[in-house]
C-alpha cells in the first residue's frame, strides 16, 4: 500500500560511521527483483555526488550505500530511490547489523571444514576397508593415526553447533535431537582413539566426521529457511516504520518517526498519506478506511471527527491532533492481538520435534539395553561398549535431520517461483492440516477498488464530461470514473471540497461531481457519485467492487480438496451477499468488525477446526494471527503481511490452491522420510546390537539413507516448472 514518501530532512538516526571515515546507510528497497532494477538503482545512487559505493543485495533487498563529505547524501539517496519508483526505507543503524548473517557464515564454515575432513578421512579409511588383509598392520595403524589427527580437530570444530545446542538443552534439563548427535560424535571419536591405541582393526573416525558433515548440511538448509523468513519480516517492519510530519508550536513542520508521536501533537496529513495514529481532524476531509473496517467506499469526515490509524486520506490535506500514541492506536491494538496469536501458534510442535521426542529416548534406551545385554551374556566390557556405541552411531538421526529441511526448502523454493512467499517452514506443515478456509471480501475475493457499474445506461456525453472533472481528483470513485472513460483532458479550475465533491466553473457553467447533497439531490438515494451539469437533471454513477476473475475457480478448487469455506467482511450485507453468491460461498457474514473476525476464528478453533485465514486489511490482522495458518496478498496492509504465514507476491489469488497442494505433498514426503528412517533403524539396531555393523557398513548406511531422503524430497520439485 502507499507508503509515506515524505521529504525527510534528518536521517542522522540511520547513518553509521564506518571505520575508514566514510558514512554509510542501509536501506530496505521493495520490489527490486532483476538485473535491470539492480543496474538502475546502483547506477542512480552512485551518480549522487560524494557516494563512494552502492551495493544492492538482491537476495535480501538491502541496499548498502557509503559516501564521504556530502552531508545531504541520505536525503538525495531516498529521493533518488523514490524517483526511480522504488518504495524504500532506511534500516535503523542498530538493527541493520545482522547477527543472522554471521550465524550463516559460521554454519557454512563448519560445513566446509567438515566436508574437507570427510573427503580426506574417508579416503584414508576406505583404503583400509578395501585393502583388507593385503595391508600390513603397521600401515593400517599409520592410516588410523593420520585419520585421528585430521578427524578429531575437524570434527570437534565443525560439530560445535550441535555441542552448543545439546549443552543448552541439557543445562535446562531437557533433551533434543542434538543430544544423541553430540553423544554419537563424541563417543565415535573416543571409541576410535581407544581402538587405534589398542591396534584394533576397526575405527569410526570416518563415521564421526561424515555424521557431522551430513547433519550440518541439514542444519544449514534449515537456517536458510529461517533466515529468509526473518529478513523478510525485518523488511516489513522497516518499510512499515512510518514517518510523520509534526507541527511544532512555532508553526514549523518537522519530520519524526511515527512512534515518537504523543497525544496532543498536531500532525500534517497530505492527500494519499496513511494516518499514523488515531487523531481528531481539525478540518473536514475524506478517507479510505477499507484497511481498517473493510468498507469499500471512502467515508467523509467532519472537523472534530476521529480518524483511526491505518486510514488513507483521500480528500484534501488536513491537520489532525493525535489522540493517542502510535502504541495505543488501533494498529498497535492489532499488533498486540497479533502477538497473542503468535503465542498460541508457538504451541504448535513442528513435525521434526515431534519425531525427536519419540526418537531420542528410543535410541538411548536401545543403546543401554544392548550394553546391558552384552554384559549379562558375559561378554567383555569392551565388546559391550563397542556395540552400544555402534547402535548410537548407526541410529544417529542423519536422515531425520535432513528429512524435514530438505523437503521444506524444495517446497518453499517451488512456491516462491509461483509467487508465494512462505515465511516459515512450519507454516507449510500447518497449511497441510487445514480443513476450513475463511476469506475476507474487500481486496481478497474482490479487487478492493470500485468499478463503474452503469456506464451503458448513461445519457450520451455525460461520462466524458464527468471524467474531465474526475481526472483532477485522487478519490477512488473519481479514479474509477476516469478509468471507465476514454483518455481525455482535465477540466480547468477544478475545486475539490472534501466530503462533498468537485466543482468547475469553466465558461460560466457550473459543473459538479460528488455526493447527493453536493449536486442538489434531496431524495434518499443509494451511494455512488452524482454529476450535475449546469441546470440539467443530476445523473447518478453507480460503483461496485468487482470479484476477481480467478476467485470462483479458486473457491471451487479448495472445496474440491475438502476444505469448508466461509466469508467474513466488514462491508454492508447487500454487497457481501452479491460477492458471496458470485464466489460460490454459502456461509458468510457482513458487518463483522476486527474483534468479531478474531472471535469467529477462535470459535472455529475451539470446535477443533484447523483454519486458514486469507485477508488483506488491518481489520483482518488479528484473525490472520489467530488462525492456524494465514495468507495475505502482496497488496495487503503491512501489519497483515506481518501477521500472515504466507504472502502472495502477485495480485492474484490462484496460487493459494497450489500452496495447499504443495504443503500437503510436502507433509506426505516428510512422513515418508520418517517412515523410511524408522524402517532403516529397525533393521540397523539389531545388526549393531549383535556387533555385525562394521565401520564400512555404518558409513554406507549413513550416506545412503541421507541420499534417499534428499532424493525423495526432490520429487516435490517435479511439476514446479510450468
Amino acid at each position: 500500500m502507499g507508503a509515506l514518501t515524505l521529504p525527510l530532512d534528518d536521517y542522522s538516526a540511520f547513518v553509521r560511521a564506518e571505520a575508514d571515515g566514510s558514512s554509510a546507510i542501509d536501506v530496505a528497497v521493495k520490489g527490486a527483483r532483476c538485473a535491470n532494477c539492480l543496474a538502475k538503482i546502483e547506477g542512480g545512487v552512485k551518480a549522487i555526488s560524494g557516494v563512494t559505493s552502492a551495493r544492492l543485495n538482491l537476495s535480501t533487498g538491502k541496499l548498502h550505500v557509503a559516501w564521504r563529505g556530502n552531508k545531504a547524501a541520505p536525503i538525495a539517496i531516498m529521493q533518488r530511490l523514490s524517483a526511480l519508483g522504488y518504495e524504500a526505507a532506511p534500516f535503523e543503524a542498530a538493527t541493520s547489523l545482522g547477527a543472522d548473517e554471521s550465524e550463516g557464515r559460521t554454519l557454512l564454515r563448519c560445513v566446509a571444514v567438515a566436508g574437507f575432513g570427510t573427503v580426506f578421512v574417508v579416503g584414508l579409511t576406505d583404503a583400509v576397508w578395501y585393502g583388507g588383509t593385503e595391508m600390513s598392520a603397521s600401515l593400517r595403524n599409520l592410516f588410523f593415526g593420520i585419520a585421528a589427527a585430521i578427524s578429531i580437530p575437524v570434527t570437534l570444530f565443525a560439530a560445535q553447533p550441535f555441542f552448543a545446542s545439546a549443552f543448552k538443552a541439557l543445562s535446562k534439563r531437557q533433551t533434543n535431537m542434538d543430544v544423541p548427535i553430540a553423544l554419537a560424535i563424541l563417543l565415535a571419536l573416543g571409541l576410535s582413539v581407544y581402538q587405534t591405541a589398542t591396534h584394533a582393526a576397526h575405527t569410526y573416525f570416518d563415521a564421526a566426521v561424515m555424521l557431522a558433515f551430513l547433519l550440518l548440511i541439514g542444519r544449514y538448509l534449515d537456517f536458510q529457511l529461517r533466515y529468509r523468513a526473518r529478513s523478510a519480516a525485518q523488511h516489513l517492519v522497516t518499510l512499515q516504520s512510518a514517518l510523520a510530519r509534526r507541527v511544532k508550536p512555532d508553526g514549523e513542520v518537522e519530520t519524526v518517526a511515527a512512534r515518537e508521536i504523543n497525544a496532543g501533537d498536531r500532525i500534517v496529513l497530505a492527500s494519499g498519506e496513511r494516518v499514523p495514529a488515531d487523531g481528531a481532524l481539525e478540518t473536514a476531509t475524506e478517507a479510505d478506511i477499507s484497511l481498517v473496517t473493510g468498507e469499500s467506499v471512502p467515508v467523509g469526515f467532519h472537523a472534530g471527527d476521529v480518524v483511526r490509524a491505518g486510514s488513507i486520506i483521500t480528500g484534501v490535506s488536513v491537520v489532525m491532533k493525535a489522540t493517542a500514541r502510535v502504541d495505543d492506536s488501533l494498529v498497535a491494538d492489532l499488533a498486540r492481538l497479533l502477538e497473542a496469536g503468535q503465542q498460541t501458534r508457538s504451541v504448535y510442535v513442528r513435525l521434526a520435534d515431534r519425531a525427536a521426542r519419540a526418537y531420542v529416548p528410543l535410541v538411548m534406551g536401545s543403546s543401554l539395553l544392548v550394553f546391558a545385554g552384552w554384559m549379562l551374556a558375559g561378554g567383555p566390557v569392551s565388546a559391550a561398549m563397542t556395540n552400544a556405541i555402534a547402535v548410537l552411531i548407526i541410529t544417529c538421526p542423519c536422515a531425520l535431520g535432513l528429512a524435514v529441511p530438505a523437503v521444506q526448502i524444495v517446497a518453499t523454493g517451488r512456491l516462491f517461483h509461483r509467487g508465494v512467499f512462505v515465511k516459515s517452514g512450519d507454516a507449510l506443515e500447518r497449511l497441510a492440516e487445514v480443513d476450513t478456509a475463511v476469506f475476507d471480501k474487500t481486496g481478497t475475493l474482490t479487487f478492493g477498488a470500485p468499478v463503474l457499474e452503469n456506464a451503458h445506461d448513461l445519457p450520451p456525453g455525460v461520462l466524458e464530461a464527468a471524467a474531465r472533472l474526475a481526472r483532477a481528483s485522487r478519490h477512488p470513485m473519481a479514479r474509477a470514473l476516469a478509468a471507465a472513460a476514454d483518455p481525455g483532458s482535465v477540466a480547468s479550475g477544478v475545486r475539490e471540497v472534501p466530503g462533498a465533491g468537485l466543482e468547475s466553473n469553466a465558461g460560466g457553467r457550473t459543473q459538479r461531481l460528488g455526493n447527493a447533497a453536493w449536486c442538489g439531490v434531496t431524495h434518499a438515494a443509494p451511494g455512488g457519485l452524482w454529476f450535475r451539469d449546469g441546470e440539467a437533471a443530476p445523473v447518478l454513477f453507480l460503483f461496485r467492487d468487482h470479484i476477481r476473475p480467478e476467485t470462483r475457480a479458486m473457491i471451487d478448487n479448495l472445496a474440491a480438496r475438502g476444505i469448508a469455506l466461509e466469508m467474513l467482511t466488514g462491508d454492508q450485507a447487500p454487497a457481501a451477499e452479491t460477492i458471496a453468491t458470485e464466489a460460490g460461498i454459502v456461509r458468510w457474514a457482513a458487518k463483522v468488525g476486527p474483534e468479531d473476525k478474531a472471535a469467529r476464528i477462535q470459535q472455529l478453533r475451539q470446535q477443533g477446526h484447523r483454519v486458514l485465514m486469507v485477508g488483506d486489511g488491518i481489520n483482518d490482522a488479528g484473525a490472520l494471527a489467530l488462525a492456524h495458518v494465514s495468507i495475505a496478498p502482496g497488496s495487503a496492509a503491512d501489519v497483515s503481511q506481518r501477521a500472515a504465514d504466507l504472502v502472495l507476491r502477485g495480485d492474484t489469488m490462484t496460487p493459494i490452491v497450489e500452496a495447499v497442494d504443495v504443503a500437503r505433498k510436502a507433509r506426505r514426503l516428510v512422513l515418508e522420510n520418517f517412515a523410511f528412517a524408522a524402517i532403516y533403524n529397525l533393521a540397523a539396531i539389531p545388526l549393531a546390537a549383535l556387533g555385525l555393523v562394521t565401520p564400512l557398513i555404518a558409513a554406507v548406511a549413513m550416506a545412503g539413507s541421507s541420499l534417499i531422503v534428499t532424493l525423495n524430497a526432490l520429487r516435490l520439485a517435479q511439476g514446479g516448472a510450468r
Binding site: 539492480l38 544492492l56 543485495n57 548473517e101 557454512l108 564454515r109 566446509a112 574437507f116 580426506f120
Partner: protein
C-alpha cells in the same frame, strides 16, 4: 613407505589449500547474495574501456 608419506602429505596439503581458499571466499562474502551475482553478470558495463 616413503612414497606413501609423500602422497599423503601432498594430498593433505592440497586439501588444506583448497579449504583455505573456500574459507577465504566465504569470509569475503562471496556467497552472501547469489541472486544478485547471477543478475549482476547480465549488466552491461558500458562505462569502462572496451
Amino acid at each position: 613407505m616413503s612414497e606413501m608419506a609423500v602422497f599423503i602429505a601432498a594430498a593433505l596439503g592440497l586439501g588444506l589449500v583448497s579449504l583455505g581458499i573456500l574459507l577465504w571466499t566465504l569470509q569475503s562474502g562471496q556467497y552472501d547474495d547469489l541472486e544478485g551475482d547471477a543478475a549482476r553478470i547480465l549488466i552491461d558495463d558500458d562505462a569502462g574501456p572496451p
